[in-house]
């Protein structure tokens, strides 16, 4: 039995489990308690930095200075006052999209009311996402999938973002300069948000106020993280973005989740394949549940 599920539909597949392992290339990497929404790092991991990245992108672990970041973002969410008449806004670096951080931010609090993104950022992401790599070119393939996921992150939030046009775009310095120039010409005070120390240096040089998100430490074997069910669903997506396919094993059976097609990455849609009768029986009703949901959505009373 095979079916494509959006990230927000994965509970259908996961509800038959109490706990399951996430297996990558034959090795159990994570143990997930689905009922209590706890993620545990299994055994020894050969790639702690990669694991740190997927956990961060899923929002299971957060930047070390998250409280400080939220506080600064609140400052830059305020409307102008007679005392502080200049408009305050947030400006995004490319890595904010790669780390799927807008989704995390939205779940933690809400997006600031004025968020800007330089066209240089979007060009950088879309040029990598459009240069489709072959599966056998492993590093390039991972990089392509991550760019497609970053583009998906932009598309999810595009209605809340304002794009700054810029003709010259050659790297991180031009991203910073696009914000500096816009701030100067439009009278906006920007807070530049980045994970990258090099961009941080450029912002310092160009006197652009910024905050660097502090990447958390790589997880240790056996370490547990209490999280939410939504983030566990996101985690399966981010793991599939990094590894192309993962396997879930547990008492309800085995399910392979894969993510290879460009449109599926953009839509955050995974292909699930299983021989488990229990899970197959749930998946067989997916189409009908979708029709119910669609009918309710269309008929939503005003």
């Amino acid at each position: 039995m095979e079916a494509k599920l959006f990230v927000g539909e994965l509970a259908l597949l996961l509800n038959p489990y109490d706990e399951f392992n996430v297996v990558v290339e034959g090795r159990a990497v994570l143990r997930i308690d689905w009922q209590r929404a706890i993620v545990k790092v299994a055994g020894t991991t050969t790639d702690p930095l990669g694991l740190r990245d997927v956990l961060l992108e899923a929002g299971v672990i957060l930047p070390r200075n998250m409280d400080e970041v939220l506080g600064r973002l609140e400052d830059y969410s305020r409307s102008p006052t007679p005392e502080e008449p200049r408009l305050k806004a947030v400006a995004l670096d490319t890595n904010i999209f790669y780390n799927l951080f807008l989704t995390t931010l939205e779940e933690e609090r809400s997006l600031p009311p004025r968020v800007y993104v330089s066209k240089c950022v979007l060009d950088e992401i879309s040029s990598k996402a459009d240069s489709k790599a072959k599966p056998e070119e492993r590093e390039a393939f991972v990089s392509w999938r991550r760019a497609a996921a970053a583009l998906s992150e932009y598309l999810r939030h595009r209605h809340g973002l304002r794009v700054i046009q810029r003709s010259k775009c050659h790297g991180d310095l031009d991203i910073v300069r696009s914000y500096v120039n816009y701030a100067g010409s439009q009278g906006v005070d920007f807070l530049f948000l980045t994970f990258d120390v090099r961009s941080r240096s450029y912002a310092l040089i160009e006197a652009l106020p910024m905050i660097t998100l502090s990447t958390p430490s790589p997880p240790r074997a056996g370490e547990s993280f209490a999280t939410t069910h939504r983030r566990i669903q996101r985690l399966l997506y981010t793991m599939a973005v990094h590894h192309a396919s993962i396997t879930l094993t547990g008492s309800a059976g085995r399910v392979a989740l894969s993510l290879g097609e460009y449109d599926d990455i953009l839509a955050r849609r995974l292909t699930a394949s299983t021989t488990s009768n229990r899970i197959a029986s749930e998946l067989s009703l997916l189409g009908r549940y979708r029709k119910i949901r669609e009918t309710l959505r269309l008929a939503r009373p005003g």
Binding site: Q35, Y289, R293, L296, R300, P301, G302
Partner: protein, 157 residues
């Protein structure tokens, strides 16, 4: 694949959010299969017609042979209790095993549905609680299982 209907009937008040009604029907479907009859009891309001249509047409995607009926509540606790009681009794008289969902609706409707169900000897009275309010407009199968509690309320047979 079409699911055959069972000798189960569901009586439910209606709220503006159709998910609490449809999720109640899905709860019954997952426990016992497609109900043969569903009775929707509602108070007059401008959104009611659209909500009733949405509930019926959406659930028919899963259970096309389920038969729906609509009953307008006249208002007033005593009268509403009587109407719920009469609805349950009528369905039991037709040989159905009757489930009453007391999740949707105003508190007064819930109270009327509960007391009417108890007086008529409904077979099961249930309440679905979703812990996380961000899932209130999510279909039951897409809500993590541990966030949903179904309470079988005392008073059913």
């Amino acid at each position: 694949m079409t699911h055959p209907v069972t000798e189960i009937a569901v009586v439910t008040p209606i709220s503006k959010n159709p998910y609490s009604v449809v999720n109640g029907l899905l709860h019954v479907f997952r426990e016992a299969g497609c109900p043969g009859r569903v009775s929707l009891l509602y108070m007059k309001d401008r959104w009611v017609a659209a909500t009733l249509n949405a509930i019926e047409s959406s659930f028919r995607n899963l259970c096309p042979h389920t038969s729906f009926s609509r009953r307008r509540l006249h208002g007033g606790l005593r009268s509403d209790i009587g109407q719920f009681k009469a609805e349950v009794e009528a369905l039991k008289g037709e040989g159905y095993r009757v489930y009453v969902n007391i999740t949707p609706g105003t508190k007064l409707m819930t109270l009327a549905a509960y007391l009417g169900a108890v007086e008529a000897g409904a077979d099961e009275i249930f309440y679905l609680s979703v812990e996380d309010r961000s899932y209130t407009e999510t279909l039951l199968p897409f809500i993590p299982r541990s966030l949903v509690a179904s309470y079988t309320v005392p008073g059913g047979r």
